[in-house]
Symmetry: none
Subunit: 414 residues, 2 copies
């Protein structure tokens, strides 16, 4: 049996199947559906081929209540959505004289010639309900087929958005006849592995009405919860309960929610406490600084940073004693702390944060493997360090190491 | 009948169906298939549900020769790809003792605890050919089902990439048993707008057998060409002809091809000429340095960098004369050049490259708008500067400005 609140998005366009494609329309559609309490269960991308579109629609009719098609409604040879839909539903295309008149008017108003090919946009499957297109040319259409609704929209984002807002969204709302009952929230963690998070939350994952998702990113593991209830009040209640439990289990591993970033959180902490920070990096190569300065207003608490790859630069720019490098190596706890203290002093900041490690692929020694990193943190009270090892490609390594440095700062400022 | 050279990608993950989703794996897969002459005909996205995965696989088996699944091979509750595939193909999961041993070894080497749940990753559908995972944990697998091949890969991009390169790509090449008749190539430009590129190439765009694509990115405009011919020889000929014309039109605006980056090209130039570079940034906040150090082996030509937000840091760390800042402002050609010369001298490098500007949203003055940037370049012969203005959000601004700085260096090294 078909779920009454599920949807399938079919994005149409041969360019969407090429290696470099980025498809953004379905995100727009998913957001609209979500806000109406309808969840996307399948998403299909097909090229501009009548047969492939027909196949995709046929499959969707078997498994989705709401089927939203985007693209393929234009006037050119490769715009074949109308034909693909018509043939698979056995509802032949019919010429709509009124729409044809409207199209001609639109072209005239824009000072463009109305050609024979443009007339195509006035043909629709029989019994289709038309969706007016106020910003562009081609109207969209809605068809009821057994217990599914098929909604065909143009691929131009601005036209699609307008049609969703003025026609599609009210239509679904009316047919669906209930309030929004879906809610989503993400909790962002750092310093804990995906399996450890899974272990910590395992017994919560079966809770009715809540779907958990775990995602290991280079900035930490994200826990997302999706709540499904009958009323907004029930959603609030369920959120309160589940959130309390998640926070109890993951404690200070959680650094933020939804779109919050580690660098944003550290920035807020520094601002609130009226403290300043300076950074000395080697293996993260500027990424730590880049992330900190991505936060608007960061110049209020962030003065300067040094990226010191060579030993000479560590000595000269940061004042790290050369004997420390000689005795312990550039990748060591002692040098990390000396770098942190060095940048703190030169920049006259409250905190100095330093990273030194081996990003790879080269640079390993007999005692120090690729991926080894030391972190140093200095303030006026003293110094501390941490050690970690990340076995990943060069850029991921930089992300892990800069995240760990930011997290060290965050925990210090809690 | 099934096309022998068509494929379907099935991306698995409930998070991929949420409004904020960005799905990048299929692009990676499409590129690999493309380079082997196999074109993606359908793309499906499903959530982490055994049943939905099964349904998607069932549909794909009817219409695609090559079916590539990504995601859902991890150890947690929501990793159900193995079960989804096994149940729909009627090939029960079997425990692989050898893989289990390998997994335990991997965990031990990383100093992590091997838990019961990790054992899940040692179960595979019967008759599956395993795909070793050299960078991560879970192996992938290949199954033959009638005239289709089903290839299941993990969702982690770095692991997937490695597995494609070392196992999947050679496998498809061998089974496909023919030469490639599809070819795609990208030319990367900087310093020219999308409409100017379009104007320059307009008359080439109608050529038979070649499809053009233009894409404006934050690292410049990309021109892609897709060539479809009957034989590899014909492809070579067509490429030679079209490429000569593109290069003739776009000249030195082209900095590289396919996956080449500005930072990679500059790195190669410096290495070849045995020169070194140091960088001083303010508004790009470390991104310029981050990009330079993303290139493996960059420590050979890159010693150090300074990110100086405050005037004080510019004076103290770079030796910019305070009177210059007072007279011309920190965002000025004079200060950009003084920063470049300053970092060149402290780091004893051949080149000094500097950026100073207003990233926004704050920081504008009566005479200097948000987005204004100056670039300085110093070598032993002297100094030069450039000016630009980028009106975009903060992070895009940083990308534009750091690209422009790299491009200035590139053109100087031509």
């Amino acid at each position: 049996m078909k779920n009454k609140l599920n949807a399938e998005i079919i994005a149409i366009g041969s360019e969407l199947l090429l290696p470099e494609a980025t498809e953004t329309n379905s995100s727009l559609i998913a957001r609209m559906l979500f806000s109406l309490g309808v969840q996307v269960q399948f998403k299909t991308v097909v090229g501009d081929f009548e047969k492939d579109i027909g196949r995709a629609v046929q499959t969707a009719l078997k498994r989705a209540r709401w089927i939203i098609l985007s693209g393929g409604l234009g006037p050119t040879e490769d715009d074949v959505t109308r034909r693909g839909v018509a043939s698979v539903l056995g509802k032949p295309l019919a010429f709509n004289k009124k729409v044809s008149g409207q199209l001609q008017k639109k072209f005239k108003a824009r000072g463009r010639l109305f050609l024979k090919i443009h007339e195509r946009q006035a043909w629709f499957p029989q019994k289709a309900i038309l969706i007016p297109n106020k910003t562009g040319i081609a109207p969209g259409f809605i068809l009821k087929e057994k217990d599914s609704f098929l909604i065909s929209l143009p691929g131009v984002p601005s036209e699609m958005r307008q049609m969703i807002e003025s026609t599609v969204s009210p239509f679904i709302k009316k047919k669906r006849g209930a309030e929004s009952t879906l809610f989503i929230k993400r909790y962002k963690t750092f310093g804990i592995s995906e399996s450890a998070v899974n272990e910590a939350l395992k017994d919560l994952m079966g809770a009715p009405g809540v779907t958990f998702g775990l995602l290991a990113k280079k900035t930490g593991v994200e826990v997302s919860i999706l709540i499904k209830e009958e009323t907004p009040q029930e959603i609030k209640k369920a959120l309160r309960e589940i959130e309390a439990r998640i926070k109890e289990r993951l404690e200070s591993f959680i650094y933020g929610e939804n779109d919050e970033t580690l660098e944003g959180v550290v920035g807020r902490q520094l601002k609130n406490k009226k403290k300043t920070l300076a950074v000395a990096e080697s293996c993260t190569g500027g990424l730590l600084c880049h992330r900190i300065t991505n936060v608007p207003g960061s110049s209020a608490y962030f003065n300067s940073s040094a990226v010191t790859y060579s030993n000479e630069a560590k000595v000269k720019q940061l004042g790290v004693p050369f004997r420390l490098i000689k005795k312990y190596g550039a990748v060591s706890a002692k040098v990390a702390m000396a770098m942190a203290e060095g940048i703190r002093k030169t920049s006259r900041s409250d905190f100095g944060l330093a990273v030194t490690g081996i990003a790879g692929p080269g640079g390993a020694t007999a005692h120090k493997p690729v991926g080894l990193v030391y972190f140093g943190l200095a303030d006026q009270k003293g110094l501390c360090f941490e050690e970690a090892r990340y076995t990943s490609d060069r850029e991921t390594f930089k992300w892990f190491a800069s995240s760990k440095a930011l997290d060290m700062m965050r925990l210090r400022l809690l």
